[in-house]
C-alpha cells in the first residue's frame, strides 16, 4: 500500500473542512437587499404617504351635477323641471313610450318577476332569451345571434373572445369607446387607420403583407381583423362597406361591424348598413349592435354565422360571467322587433326627417354640421375654435342652455360638439323652431 504524501492529506483535509463549512453556512439570498436594516425598513413604511385615492374635484365643475329628468325620457321630456322637446335621447323610432311594448313588458313581469338571479349557464336562460335570439337572427338573416345584458359590454366582450395576444386588428380612428376597451382587453396589436380612408387602410395592409412574407410560418397563425362601425357615433359618417369587403378578400382579413347607430335606421327594412349597401350579410364575420337605441330596451346582441357566434357562448366574458338580461327587457325588445317588422315605412319617415334636420341646420353661423344627411344623430362643431378646450366647452354649453330655455328643445353635449338627435316623433314645426333657436344662440354667443 502506498502512503499518500503529506501535502495530499493536508489538502484533502482542508477541502473537507471547506465543504463542511459551505454546507452549514447561511444560504446567500439574492433577493434580500442587504443594504437596508430592519429599522430602516420600518422607517420607510412609516414615512411612505400614498397619493389621495381620488384627486380633488372642484365643486362647480359643469358636468358634476347631472340634469335630472322627471318622468320618462320620451318625446316631451321634463328636464330640471322644464318641459322640453327631446332632441337628445337616442329614441330613433319613438318606441320608448309605445303602449304595446309596455304591455308586453308588464305581462312578462307578471310571469317571470324582474331579475334573473344568475348567469346564462346557471338557470339564467329563459325561454324569452332563446326566442329573442332566434328572432334577431331571423330578422338580420344570419344563422345565429347571442344576447348580452348591457350594450357597452357587447363589443367589448366580443373582440377579446377572438383576438388574442399577437393578433392584429385594424381599427378606424373614430371608433367608439367600447371598441377601444375591447381592444385594450384583448392585448392584440392595434393599428389605427385614418377615418374612412380606404387608401390608408390598404397601405397598412400592404405593409403587413410584406412583414408576413419575411416570416411565413408565423403569418399562418396570426389572425387579422378589421373593426369598423356602420354609422360612427363620434362623427355621424357611414363606413364604405363595399370597399371594405373587397379589401377583406384581397388581404384575407375578417370584418367586425359595429352597428349600434345604424341598426333600425338604415336599410329598407332597418337591417342596417349591410342592407343599405346591398352587401351579402355572410361576408361580414360578426355584426354587433346594442338594443338601447332604436329598440328602446337595454342590452346588446351579436349576430353572424354559427361558426363565429357559438364561440362566444363559452369565451365571451360579459356573457358567461355576468347575470343575464332581465326577461321583461327581452320581451320589450321582441315586441319592438315586431313593430319594426310590421311597419317598414317608419324607416323612410325617419330618413326624411333626418334629411330635413340636416338641411335646416345648414348655414348656422359659427357652427358646422358634421355627418351624413342620413344619420339620425348629427354633430354641430365649432367652426373656429377659441384655442382652449375649456372655453370651447363653455361656449357649447351656453348654446345648449339657451336653446333649452328659449325654445324648450333639449339637445346635448358630446365631447367637443353638440349632438342633435332625430326621432320619428318630432314634427315639422318643432324641428323648425329648434333650428331657428340654435341659429339665434349661435349668433348671440359666438359673435
Amino acid at each position: 500500500m502506498q502512503f499518500a504524501p503529506a501535502y495530499h492529506l493536508i489538502l484533502e483535509g482542508i477541502l473537507i473542512l471547506w465543504i463542511i463549512r459551505l454546507l452549514f453556512s447561511k444560504t446567500y439570498k439574492l433577493q434580500e437587499r442587504s443594504d437596508l436594516t430592519e429599522k430602516e425598513k420600518e422607517e420607510l413604511i412609516e414615512e411612505w404617504q400614498p397619493e389621495p385615492l381620488v384627486p380633488l374635484v372642484s365643486k362647480d365643475h359643469p358636468s358634476l351635477n347631472y340634469d335630472v329628468v322627471t318622468g320618462p325620457p320620451s318625446h316631451r321630456i321634463i328636464v330640471n323641471g322644464k318641459e322640453c322637446i327631446n332632441f337628445a335621447s337616442f329614441n330613433f323610432l319613438g318606441l320608448l313610450d309605445s303602449e304595446r311594448v309596455k304591455l308586453k313588458a308588464l305581462s312578462s313581469l307578471k310571469k317571470y318577476g324582474v331579475g334573473t338571479c344568475g348567469p346564462r349557464g346557471f338557470y339564467g336562460t329563459f325561454d324569452v332569451h332563446l326566442e329573442l335570439e332566434e328572432r334577431l337572427a331571423k330578422f338580420m338573416r344570419t344563422e345565429e345571434a347571442i344576447i348580452y345584458s348591457y350594450g357597452f359590454a357587447t363589443i367589448a366582450s366580443a373582440i377579446p373572445a377572438y383576438s388574442k395576444r399577437g393578433d392584429i386588428v385594424f381599427v378606424d380612428e373614430a371608433a367608439c369607446f367600447s371598441i377601444q376597451k375591447g381592444l385594450q382587453a384583448s392585448r392584440s396589436f392595434v393599428k389605427y387607420f385614418k377615418h374612412n380612408d380606404m387608401e390608408d387602410l390598404e397601405r397598412l395592409l400592404k405593409e403587413q403583407e410584406i412583414e408576413d412574407q419575411k416570416n411565413p410560418r408565423k403569418a399562418k397563425v396570426i389572425r387579422r381583423f378589421i373593426v369598423v362601425e356602420g354609422l360612427y357615433i363620434n362623427t355621424a359618417d357611414l363606413c364604405p362597406l363595399p370597399e371594405l369587403v373587397k379589401l377583406k378578400y384581397k388581404y384575407k382579413v375578417r370584418i367586425f361591424l359595429e352597428e349600434s347607430m345604424s341598426f333600425g335606421v338604415l336599410g329598407e327594412h332597418g337591417r342596417g348598413v349591410t342592407e343599405h349597401f346591398g352587401v351579402n350579410i355572410d361576408d361580414i364575420d360578426l355584426i354587433s349592435a346594442n338594443m338601447e337605441n332604436a329598440l328602446a330596451s337595454i342590452g346588446g346582441f351579436c349576430c353572424g354565422r354559427s361558426f363565429v357566434i357559438d364561440h362566444q357562448r363559452l369565451s365571451g366574458q360579459g356573457y358567461c360571467f355576468s347575470a343575464s338580461l332581465p326577461p321583461m327587457l327581452a320581451s320589450a325588445a321582441i315586441e319592438a322587433l315586431n313593430i319594426m317588422e310590421e311597419d317598414p315605412g317608419v324607416f323612410r319617415v325617419l330618413r326624411d326627417k333626418c334629411k330635413h334636420v340636416h338641411k335646416a341646420l345648414q348655414g348656422t353661423p359659427g357652427l358646422k354640421v358634421a355627418g351624413e344627411p342620413l344619420a339620425p344623430a348629427l354633430h354641430l362643431q365649432l367652426e373656429n375654435s377659441t384655442g382652449s378646450r375649456t372655453n370651447d366647452l363653455k361656449l357649447l354649453r351656453a348654446i345648449v342652455d339657451y336653446v333649452r330655455y328659449n325654445s324648450r328643445s333639449q339637445i346635448t353635449m358630446c365631447v367637443l360638439s353638440i349632438r342633435v338627435v332625430v326621432t320619428v316623433e318630432q314634427t315639422q314645426e318643432e324641428i323648425e323652431k329648434a333650428a331657428q333657436c340654435i341659429r339665434e344662440a349661435a349668433v348671440k354667443i359666438l359673435k
Binding site: 335621447s89 348591457y150 376597451k181 397563425v221 389572425r223
Partner: protein, 563 residues
C-alpha cells in the same frame, strides 16, 4: 445577536424580530415580522383555520377546506387522462371522416384565411365539455324562485344539438339561482311597484347618465343605497360586471399597485388589467401573504426604478362564490391602516345575505363602513334585479361621476329595475312598515346553518365558512360532475355543477345556493336526494368524525388499516 425592535400584537403578545435566530414554523416556512401568527391545527388530512386574534373577531370564524384524499386525487387524474386519450382518438376519427362531424365549419370562400380558432384551444370544449353539456344552460320558464319550471330538452346526438320536447318539468327545487333573500317573485309589493313604474316610465332610457339618462329614480336610489350601506354617497350602474371593469381603471393607473386575491372574479381581474397598474396576487384569504406583499412593496418600491408607489389598492370580495369563504375583513382593515393602503371590497354575493341587518360583510363583522374606502356590490343576487353600485366618501363618488367610463358612455339603469331595487331595499331596511325583511334575513341564516350542518353530518366534503349561504360540495372526478347533475335532475332538484376552468382541475364541485325562500321541507327533500345520490356515486369522502352516518366504507377501511 441582540433582539431588535419588538412590536405588539393587538392582543398584547409581543413578537420579537431577530436577525439570526429565526425559528421555523411547523410546515417549514420562516415566520418573520408578521403581525399575525396563525396557529395551524394540523389534524390528519384537514386544515381548519381558527384566528388567534380573537379580539378582532366578535364571533368564532370557522371555515374548513378539507384536503383532497390521496386516492381520490389519483383516480381523478387517471380519469382525465383516459378522457384526453379518447379525445385524441375521436379527433383523429373526425379528421379522417370515420365519424360525422357536428361542428360548424368555416365558409368555403374563407377556407384560405388564417383559421379563427386553434385546434388545441377547443380541445377541452369539444371532447370533455360536450359530453356533459346538458348540465348547463338549462332554460327555465318561470320565476327563478325556490321552485321553478324547467323546459325539457332531449338530445338525439349526444349533446351536440338540443330539441325542446314541449314538455315542462314543473316545480323543480332551485338550488342554483342566486336568490338569497327570495326577492325573485312575480307577486307582492316589489312586483306591483315595478309594474307601476313600467307603466309610467317605460322600459328603456336611450341615453347615458351624463346626458339625458339621469332620472329622478336614479337619484332616489343612490341616496337610499348610501343610507343602506352607511356611507356618504353612492353611484349606481347598469351592469355589475361593467361596474368593476369600468371603475377600477378610473381610480388606478400606471405607477399604482393592485394587490388582488388569488380567487377574485373575472370582472375584478379585467378591471385591474385595464387600469394599467402593476398587479400582484396574494394567496386566497391569507393575511401573511398579503402582509409580506405590502411590506415588500413599500420597502422596495416600483420594480427596477425603486420609486415609491403612488397608491396601493387591495382588491377582495365579500364572499367568494366558488369557495364559499368569507373574507377576513377585520385583519385586512388592520393591515390597511398600518400600511396606508386603500381597500376595494366587492360584495356581489354578501350584500343582503350576511349580517344581522343584511348590510353585508361589514355588518357581519360589526365594523365601521367608513374603514372600507370603496364598497362595491351588485343588485342581481339579493335584490332580485340587475346592476351594480359603488359607495364611499363624497369625493370618491363625485370623481367617479365625472370620470367613470360607465357614466359617460354607457346607458343608465332601466326604470322598473330601479324601482325593484328601491322597494326590496326598503323592505330589508324595514322602512316599508313590515318585518318581512328581518324575517327573510333570519330565515336565510337559519337555512344556511341547517343545510351546512346536515351535509357535514352526512359525510360530504363542504368548503367554506359556516355562515356563508354558498355551499360547495366536492365531487373531484370528471364523470361524477355529469352524473351528479343528471341524477339530481331526475329527482326534481336543479343544481349547479362546476368544473375546470372555473375551478382547479381536480377540484370540481357542485355548488348550492341557499335561499330564504326555501322552506324546511324543501331543504329536507333536497338533502335526502343529495344523500341518495351521494351513496350512489360514492361522494361521501369526508374523514372527519361524523355522527350516525353510514359513510363510504372504503375510506374508513383504509384509514383504520393505515397505521
Amino acid at each position: 445577536m441582540t433582539q431588535n425592535s419588538a412590536s405588539k400584537l393587538l392582543n398584547g403578545d409581543t413578537v420579537h424580530r431577530t436577525k439570526q435566530d429565526k425559528k421555523t414554523g411547523g410546515n417549514g416556512f420562516v415566520k418573520n415580522h408578521c403581525l399575525f401568527q396563525q396557529k395551524r391545527y394540523r389534524r390528519p388530512a384537514e386544515k381548519n383555520h381558527h384566528a388567534s386574534c380573537t379580539s378582532l373577531y366578535k364571533k368564532p370564524f370557522v371555515e374548513s377546506f378539507e384536503e383532497t384524499p390521496l386516492l381520490v386525487a389519483v383516480l381523478t387524474y387517471i380519469g382525465y387522462g383516459i378522457l384526453t386519450i379518447f379525445g385524441y382518438l375521436r379527433d383523429f376519427l373526425r379528421d379522417w371522416k370515420f365519424e360525422k362531424c357536428h361542428l360548424a365549419r368555416e365558409r368555403e370562400e374563407q377556407k384560405d384565411f388564417v383559421p379563427l380558432y386553434q385546434d388545441f384551444e377547443n380541445f377541452y370544449t369539444r371532447n370533455l365539455y360536450m359530453r356533459i353539456r346538458d348540465n348547463w344552460n338549462r332554460p327555465i320558464r318561470s320565476v327563478p324562485g325556490a321552485k321553478m319550471d324547467l323546459v325539457e330538452r332531449v338530445t338525439p346526438d349526444y349533446n351536440w344539438t338540443f330539441e325542446h320536447t314541449g314538455k315542462v318539468l314543473k316545480d323543480v327545487i332551485n338550488m342554483g339561482s342566486y336568490n338569497y333573500l327570495g326577492f325573485a317573485e312575480n307577486t307582492g309589493t316589489c312586483a306591483d311597484a315595478a309594474s307601476e313604474c313600467t307603466v309610467k316610465y317605460g322600459v328603456g332610457v336611450c341615453s347615458s347618465r351624463q346626458e339625458t339618462g339621469n332620472l329622478d329614480k336614479h337619484e332616489e336610489l343612490e341616496k337610499l343605497v348610501a343610507r343602506f350601506l352607511g356611507v356618504e354617497s353612492s353611484m349606481v350602474f347598469g351592469m355589475g360586471f361593467a361596474t368593476n371593469s369600468m371603475n377600477i381603471p378610473a381610480l388606478m393607473g400606471k405607477g399604482c399597485l393592485i394587490l388582488s386575491d388569488e380567487l377574485n372574479h373575472v370582472s375584478l381581474v379585467l378591471g385591474a388589467r385595464l387600469s394599467g397598474a402593476t398587479i400582484r396576487v396574494f394567496k386566497h384569504n391569507n393575511m401573511q401573504s398579503l402582509e409580506k406583499l405590502l411590506w415588500d412593496a413599500i420597502v422596495h418600491g416600483q420594480p427596477r426604478t425603486h420609486r415609491p408607489w403612488k397608491k396601493i389598492l387591495i382588491l377582495v370580495e365579500g364572499i367568494y362564490s366558488m369557495e364559499g369563504s368569507i373574507v377576513r375583513l377585520p385583519e385586512i382593515i388592520v393591515l390597511k391602516k398600518k400600511y396606508k393602503a386603500y381597500l376595494y371590497l366587492d360584495e356581489a354575493h354578501s350584500i343582503g345575505a350576511l349580517g344581522p341587518r343584511g348590510r353585508g360583510v361589514v355588518d357581519y363583522f360589526g365594523l365601521d363602513p367608513c374603514d372600507v374606502d370603496i364598497m362595491m356590490g351588485t343588485f342581481t343576487k339579493s335584490f332580485g334585479a340587475a346592476g351594480g353600485y359603488i359607495g364611499g366618501k363624497k369625493d370618491l363618488v363625485d370623481y367617479l361621476r365625472l370620470h367613470s367610463h360607465s357614466a359617460v358612455y354607457a346607458t343608465s339603469m332601466s326604470p322598473p329595475i330601479t324601482q325593484q331595487i328601491i322597494t326590496s331595499m326598503k323592505c330589508i331596511m324595514g322602512e316599508d312598515g313590515t318585518t318581512l325583511g328581518q324575517e327573510r334575513l333570519c330565515q336565510l341564516s337559519e337555512n344556511t346553518t341547517y343545510f351546512r350542518r346536515r351535509l357535514h353530518e352526512m359525510g360530504f366534503i363542504i368548503y367554506g365558512n359556516n355562515d356563508s349561504p354558498v355551499v360547495p360540495l366536492m365531487l373531484y372526478m370528471p364523470a361524477k360532475i355529469g352524473a351528479f347533475g343528471r341524477e339530481m335532475l331526475k329527482r326534481n332538484i336543479g343544481t349547479v355543477v362546476v368544473g375546470f376552468p372555473a375551478t382547479p382541475i381536480i377540484e370540481s364541485r357542485a355548488r348550492f345556493c341557499v335561499s330564504a325562500a326555501h322552506t324546511r321541507e324543501m331543504l329536507d327533500t333536497a338533502l335526502n336526494a343529495i344523500s341518495e345520490v351521494g351513496d350512489l356515486l360514492q361522494l361521501k369522502y369526508s374523514r372527519k368524525n361524523r355522527h350516525g352516518s353510514e359513510g363510504t366504507d372504503l375510506f374508513s377501511y383504509l384509514e383504520s388499516h393505515q397505521d
